[in-house]
């Protein structure tokens, strides 16, 4: 016997275990890989501290400087919109908080559902805009790889299925909820092995650059 409810229970049961384990081990592999790259021993005397410049660079590389904004306003504005929208939907939607609480014991207040649905709708539009931009921008079109499109598709699928599930636009509901959970699991599985790893490495890398600049005494 197979059906939408069995599919949902499969995504909430065995498939979730598989995804979370591959994600955890994959992330460990990547972190180990980064640490194993090694660095040459720096014999030069440090000119300044590392921590201050490190944290400063985490901020300055996150908030676009005027020059960057003038060169690529679309990247800055739309990128911010969909990243923040994704994070709000991920971290402040009640069912997601319940999931995190069941795994970690941590919980926090949720935003009202209508706010989340509005944010998710905006995120969807922004994601579509990024795809159109990527496919039409002369430079982006050339430098885009299959991985870029796969990563976009997975992120979009997660948001779209969540949006469809919230509005109950696919019947039966267990089918669309299962699709949402499955697409999130695919994202978890791909995360350590694709550019999605930046979720974990971006701020570490920015701190590392800033710390190196600080040590050398250059502006961070």
């Amino acid at each position: 016997m197979s059906g939408s409810m069995e599919f949902l229970l499969w995504t909430k049961g065995p498939m979730f275990n598989i995804a979370i384990t591959i994600f955890a081990i994959g992330l460990l592999v990547r972190i180990a890989e980064i640490f194993m790259l090694g660095r040459k021993k720096n014999f030069a005397e440090a000119r300044a501290g590392e921590w201050g410049p490190g944290f400063r660079t985490m901020v300055t590389r996150t908030v676009a400087d005027p020059g960057t904004f003038e060169r690529a306003p679309f990247n800055v504005v739309v990128g911010w919109i969909w990243h923040i929208g994704f994070l709000i939907a991920l971290l402040l939607f009640l069912p997601h908080i319940a999931l995190i609480e069941s795994l970690t014991g941590l919980s926090w207040p949720a935003l009202p559902n209508p706010v989340i649905s509005l944010v998710t709708s905006v995120t969807l539009v922004a994601l579509i805009a990024t795809l159109v931009h990527r496919m039409t921008h002369p430079v982006k079109k050339r430098i885009s790889t299959v991985e870029d499109y796969v990563v976009w598709a997975v992120v979009f699928a997660v948001v779209l299925t969540g949006w469809l599930a919230y509005y109950r636009l696919v019947n039966p509901y267990p089918l669309v909820l299962g699709m949402h959970i499955l697409s999130a699991e695919v994202m978890l599985i791909l995360l350590p092995f694709t550019k999605l790893t930046h979720i974990f490495t971006t701020f570490i890398a920015r701190w590392y650059n800033g710390a190196a600049f600080g040590r050398k005494g250059v502006q961070s």
């Binding site: 016997m1 065995p14 598989i18 081990i25 592999v29 069912p95 069941s102 909820l177």
Partner: protein
């Protein structure tokens, strides 16, 4: 569907003999039209059809069950159980309700089968130990449930599986399913099987399916799980009177907090209403008195497959079901293999790129200008 037993009285005749008023009968027809999601204008047509309908012979088989489904049926109000048994159907065999016992009871089943070949309805509550299971796990009069089911349905017009045990395996089929319990639709492939799931099912749904069969001479439209669309077409969540609170993001956090007292949504307390398809929210129980969510308890999802194995009753719908150690180990091994393979592939790609590296000359760059 084959013609019904011509020797039987019509339903109209039976009703008049029992002194059922015309007004009461039409009220029943209007309620039937309403619960089958038909327009009110269909009520006279239903009345006309039922007036002339012959009472179908019904054989009720009880297997691995708790009698909760029969208990539910005895709380039927429109029609009442007496109306159902005496007027609407000819209930020729039912362990719990029949007066006969032992051989006489079994003969009643055999007689009903012999007298109405191809015409009788079989209603089953309870799951069945499958053909590969020990037949001794559940027997009636020395016959295994499986043998009795297959023998009885052979010449039936259709089978109505009543309750979640008969429709999806239910509690006997829950992990680890020691008796190899199976549902009716897992075993009966050559007859129409209608599932009226629920633990217990709503009595009016059982009678509604029978009334539909009598009115139209065919079985109702079914969903992917063979459940009548008229009753299982919408989720509990879609029809829940607490839905506006879900939409506003107002949730009860405990069973006795302010939100619970104000009737806020029970999603956080484990309500499975969003994933459960049934008519509780519209038909309610005990003659429309109330239903679990109105009584302050989250929906358990009892009318869905594997509801016993679908995680804790008080876990939110989004929470994963319990992790299995074997699954985690298998997933860990898979993760290690994938990680190793990706690392090896990346290393190979780097080596290949280095081996095939072709430096660009100044002349080549200038040629491109």
């Amino acid at each position: 569907m084959a013609a019904r037993n011509p020797t039987d009285k019509t339903l109209g005749e039976s009703l008049r003999e029992r002194g059922v008023s015309r007004r009461g009968f039409l009220k029943f027809c209007a309620a039937t039209a309403s619960m089958m999601a038909l327009p009110p204008s269909m009520a006279p047509a239903i009345a006309a059809a039922l007036e002339q309908a012959k009472r179908p012979s019904v054989i009720w088989l009880s297997f691995q069950e708790c009698t909760g489904c029969t208990e539910s049926l005895t709380r039927s109000h429109a029609p009442t159980l007496e109306d159902l048994i005496l007027d609407v159907i000819s209930l020729d065999y039912h362990h719990t309700l029949q007066a006969a016992a032992g051989d006489a009871a079994e003969h009643a089943r055999e007689q009903a089968m012999a007298a109405n070949p191809g015409e009788y309805l079989v209603i089953v509550d309870g799951s069945i130990p499958g053909p590969d299971s020990n037949p001794g796990y559940s027997t009636v009069a020395g016959h295994s449930n499986y043998a009795m089911l297959m023998e009885t349905v052979e010449n039936a017009a259709a089978v109505i599986a009543v309750g979640t045990c008969a429709t999806f395996g239910g509690l006997p089929g829950a992990n680890p399913n020691p008796t190899g319990a199976m549902s009716v639709m897992d075993l009966v492939k050559d007859k129409p099987v209608i599932n009226v799931s629920g633990c217990p099912p709503i009595p009016m749904v059982i009678t509604g399916v029978i009334a539909h069969y009598l009115t139209f001479g065919r079985l109702p439209e079914l969903d992917a799980y063979n459940r009548p669309m008229a009753f299982f077409g919408q989720s509990i969540h879609d029809r829940c009177y607490r839905r506006p609170f879900y939409d506003k993001g107002l949730f009860a956090k405990t069973f006795d907090d302010e939100g619970a007292r104000l009737g806020w949504c029970l999603y956080e307390l484990g309500c499975k209403g969003p994933t459960t398809y049934n008519a509780c929210a519209t038909m309610r129980w005990n003659d429309g008195t109330s239903w679990p969510v109105e009584a302050g308890h989250p929906c358990l999802g009892c009318s869905e497959p594997r509801f016993w194995d679908a995680g804790g009753f008080y876990n939110t719908v989004s929470v994963p079901t319990s992790a299995s150690g074997v699954n985690v180990l298998a997933a860990g091994a898979a993760g290690a293999i994938v990680g190793g393979a990706v690392a090896a592939l990346a290393k190979k790609q780097t080596k290949t790129a280095v081996a095939h590296r072709q430096p660009v000359t100044v002349e080549e760059l200038e040629a491109k200008l």
